[in-house]
Symmetry: C2
Subunit: 426 residues, 2 copies
Amino acid sequence: MAIVKDAKLGLSDLVRGVAQKEGVDPEFVRKGVANGRIVIPSNPVHSPDPCGIGEGLSVKVNVNIGTSRDIQKIEEELEKARIAVRYGADTIMDLSTGGDIDLVRKKIIETVRVPVGTVPIYQTGLKAARESAVVDMDEDDIFNGIVKHAKDGVDFMTVHCGITEESVEYLKKSKRVTDVVSRGGSFLVAWILYNEKENPLFKNFEYLLELATEHEFALSLGDGLRPGCIHDATDGPQLQELIILGDLVRRAREKEVQVMVEGPGHVPINQIEANVRVEKTVCDGAPFYVLGPLVTDIAPGYDHISGAIGGALAAYFGADFLCYVTPAEHLSLPDVEDVKEGLIASKLAAHAADLGKGRGLERDLRMAQARKALDWERMFKEALDPEKGRLYRSRGVTKESEGCSMCGDVCAIKILRDYLKKDGVC
Amino acid sequence: MAIVKDAKLGLSDLVRGVAQKEGVDPEFVRKGVANGRIVIPSNPVHSPDPCGIGEGLSVKVNVNIGTSRDIQKIEEELEKARIAVRYGADTIMDLSTGGDIDLVRKKIIETVRVPVGTVPIYQTGLKAARESAVVDMDEDDIFNGIVKHAKDGVDFMTVHCGITEESVEYLKKSKRVTDVVSRGGSFLVAWILYNEKENPLFKNFEYLLELATEHEFALSLGDGLRPGCIHDATDGPQLQELIILGDLVRRAREKEVQVMVEGPGHVPINQIEANVRVEKTVCDGAPFYVLGPLVTDIAPGYDHISGAIGGALAAYFGADFLCYVTPAEHLSLPDVEDVKEGLIASKLAAHAADLGKGRGLERDLRMAQARKALDWERMFKEALDPEKGRLYRSRGVTKESEGCSMCGDVCAIKILRDYLKKDGVC
């Protein structure tokens, strides 16, 4: 099965599946996949439930999980994966960097029916780093890592193809404060500087496209030079990399390889719309996958909220895919609770963006009707997190069967019920 | 001391105090106060630290606290007030509706040096409601309540003057789902319907202005008809009330009474900018004080995040004053932890909006520099919540003295430090 090729020919089951889930015309999805504006990550080895990402579809949310050198409990990562799916994650990325990385990846792919993504260079780089140094990564190892992930069933992979010898020179001259905050990006910048050679993922991009065609995984072009703070947002190195990614999008499309583009990061509110519009122009409408973006640097412990603000705005302006951020961002590996909190913040942002574009309004209307009726069970049913709703309400030790402990007997809804009889409306 | 009158004559100490705190020209603040675009709530009985709200100043955040019928612990409310001040609340509103309401208010005013606001109709209405019915409120009692609060030192008061017999008729014909969700609004709508008389706060607005002049409190014109769900946002009843508030702003300014305007509530992302621009036009630039706004209805337990998204956007487009929302919104009275979480979400939103307008960038730069240096103490110092940052980092059981448990040895900053030597930059 070749997703883009098939879409050019007619309606495939995958395309129909996405259209049904989104409540849109299958022909719309088919055209989007054929022209690259919609991506459906689906490696036949994994064959996840259909998930479309891109123009005209609902905003999707990704959850990053995975071990680190310091925390390597496989069962906990699987629990994170299950919680993520339960609360509506559209995709999961396994970013493991500790313990038996191959095993974690395989277990996650086995466990979830949503598309799974990885960043293969992490594994290649840290193996080199732990044996000698990250700059000793072998070119073949980089591609072998990608093949290994593909054979395990990974549906989409982040590849930092846009970092080049030229962009590293440009970075050296820049006034950036935080230089490089992408882990994969730092591996490749270091590798280029030390080896004085071109980035293998850029130099051999055609080979990468062959692998993607053979194994049918989607590419997610990483933004290794994304800004790491508000000061660095929308600067030269970021935009220069984006221009290169735009070229690579066109090359991938020529070969009928599915491709998305990753974006920042840290962006102040006044630059978010511009970031989305520039990506959509430079990359010819390729699905835009943003990390956050975080709208301030001063919120450690609350970066999920910072990311929800930026994500809602980015998605409203056209970003298609939000990578969640947890409260642990910048501080530690997230635990299960952090994963849930981060995911719900991001789902909230995605839904708010959808509402802003007129999508998904029915659910909010049902919630409003339940509130008007003071029907708590219906409210919890429509809530992003029914359990938390119940917890807060029970905690309030209300004496009311209908109202809550905030207003008690001075509940606006109850007062109006007695006095406001609406004309022709019950 | 008459704040507006004084500002028309020259620089007062209050004006100078605000200018110093904001880092702006005192003449700018003086003009803003004189023409009503800046409000400095300051009742001489309380005489809080100077706090300016309005055009050209940093975005301010209010924290609501107060007892309810079900939860009446005065000491817990005082603890909320202290926590709020500690984490940067600019003002506190006491919305108590349970226990010894007079005592709670007096204690809060004694405890905090930030301006304190109240909604006097709550106390009047619930006294009537508990004795007979809210519609039995006596007109004199409504004004006597206001005088009592003023004499206690309340710096600003929400008064629902914009609900009129006409707007109630309009409401009855509307297709609203949640009708009225403002408590004060519901009291007055019920009162008007039952008594078939005009809203005393509207009818006797000139008398209210006399009281405000005599006791020197600022008015915050409540939006009793604010939408209570996404479906009702920016509808006829809301806008009709706003037009009335615009007229009342002009009348207040004629009498040199300080006045702000309250706004929604529940607003989808695509209508937030319009809401701010309409208020600024219709109310001639009067400071705009918004509750949230919440960008979706389906987030019980996470409404502080919904409010942070809406608040950041509203403030970026010109709202001056954000009323925080806690995770307990719609579910129960918030506890101390909820107050803190809600406040920080709102502070984050206010700061993000300030950054978007080019204000406050230095703090984010210091944070970025601390991150680049992996200097954790400096990071915590710049954080909105140093304690939470420390907690997350310590929880990560990192083996690294410099990095964190997320990336461990594959920390982008550490890798780059070894390989990237920037030209002329250390």
